[in-house]
Symmetry: C2
Subunit: 327 residues, 2 copies
Amino acid sequence: MSRVTSADVARESGFSRTTVSYVLNDAPGVSISEATRRHVLETADRLGYTPSAPARALRSGRSDVVLCVLPDWTVGPVIDTLIDHLTTLFAEHGLALLVFNDRDSRPLTELWRAVTPRAVLALGPLTDTDAAAMRTARIPVVGSALDEDPHPETFAVPQHGIAELQVEHLAARGHRVLAYAAPSDERLAAFAERRLAGARAACRRLGLPEPRTRTVELEIASAAAAVRAWRADDSVTGVVAYNDEVAFAVLAGVRAEGLVTPDDVAVIGVDDIPLARLASPALTTVWQAIDAQAEHLTASVLAALGHPVPPPRPVGELFHVVERAST
Amino acid sequence: MSRVTSADVARESGFSRTTVSYVLNDAPGVSISEATRRHVLETADRLGYTPSAPARALRSGRSDVVLCVLPDWTVGPVIDTLIDHLTTLFAEHGLALLVFNDRDSRPLTELWRAVTPRAVLALGPLTDTDAAAMRTARIPVVGSALDEDPHPETFAVPQHGIAELQVEHLAARGHRVLAYAAPSDERLAAFAERRLAGARAACRRLGLPEPRTRTVELEIASAAAAVRAWRADDSVTGVVAYNDEVAFAVLAGVRAEGLVTPDDVAVIGVDDIPLARLASPALTTVWQAIDAQAEHLTASVLAALGHPVPPPRPVGELFHVVERAST
DNA sequence: CTGAAAGCGCTTACAG
DNA sequence: CTGAAAGCGCTTACAG
């Protein structure tokens, strides 16, 4: 009672394995009589035939899986949404997106060897070893949205642009002395750095003093301390938060200090998570066009695979401020 | 310049493919001279040899991948944590966990056929078709934590127990008239139902009136309307929220109605998401032992694969209340 | 300790 | 339109 193979279908239907294969794969350039086709299909169905993926992969030298390697960061709702979009988009091209959470504990190498993906979409940095090994195995690797020097076809979200938007928003509201609330999670450092750089640049451009930067943990005490310091030393009135979670902490810190948002301290986040509108007060934040990001990422991978990809529609708006009560 | 095969290693090292294979796989019960072993290994390394997973899978009839099918629910931080634990645990057994976001749009069938996983861990319900097909393909499927009638070895989180804990907590605080804030997301309905049933049972047991149930969207207006109705019709003083997100909405609704938490309305959530402690006021919630859940799920899969699994350590505490200011 | 050979399931030139 | 055959890369009895 072992697995049903195409040979079984051939035997059972009375045709050759060649014919069966032609029918099953809708082989181009081969004409099969309708009766034959139907008979084969019916037999395959009746037998419960399932093609063997490994055999197929061995034969063709390729699988239909795109491996998405998730870096070690806290996976937030934004990434979830991104993956969702990616899965759908790849599916439209007959490719299945598989997600792997990269952690130090387990070697990525073994995994992608076991899966032999058609391509790898690395949303975070890869080990040099892994990258080299993939190159050797001739698996196209499309870099993260963080790459400083992306392949020409890779799409990178301009992290600095996000922070610039935040600064501009606060400046337009009349805030002159700004603070930057950085995340404490080291895994976010790479992103935070780039965003902070964007904030700095925007301040410079707008003639504002350098933003006061402090790491804010997701705890009231930490946030309160930061708020206290910002107010005492520099009379900060606007806080640019790394993301909505950090912004929530800052809001809590402001409250804890007996201050009021936005009157005493305005706060702006990034991501527009579902809870943002439920914050007290409702959180102003930067919305990101995740779908567009997904589209470009997908296009990059397809291009790397040599698919004829229609040029992705112009990027257009990648993010914009969602104004709420916190600024 | 195609791929390096074990045959290449054999040719290059001057040994037979058999010997090479023995060395490369540390074949048990075969002794190879140290010199030979070293030479083969060195050659493989020098050539950059990578075993072909499809060939291996075809040969052995099995892959080293466990496919985790994520249902259509909003993936929250809790699931992320769970997957993280699962990935690590499976890795310890030489299995790679791959996550697939199930969506209506794309057939699961094609995917697991392409991956030929050793086992499937379905965190949500599967189509009958898929389930049947997997059975035919002899891929063990371990059911979700939601199964009403799980396999004996499957571990199910008692959803109702979570709500019971919530009700007990509020009752202990003197609340008599409780409300249940259900999520609006239909994909959560299955969970919500079970939790609501638990809340009902607990109320009955404690001699409290049936909890007033309302669906609360993640918007202030919706939550405010619910709070208004609860207060007006039934003078509800305690709200059991489906999860922390819904609890955030209720908190916002209470504020919007000019009421105060916990004096006018107490609120308790589920999950203890990072933002819970940053709510205004800090949210009382139910913490879940995700690691224990992951352990049991992993053990279920390994058992289904016939691995000699040590009996999982006793479940112990699966969840407990984290007391904060909202109750 | 090592080699020659079979076979996992599939697809695809190559002949009919 | 269909069949016999080769070969993708690997592992493992089976003989030496």
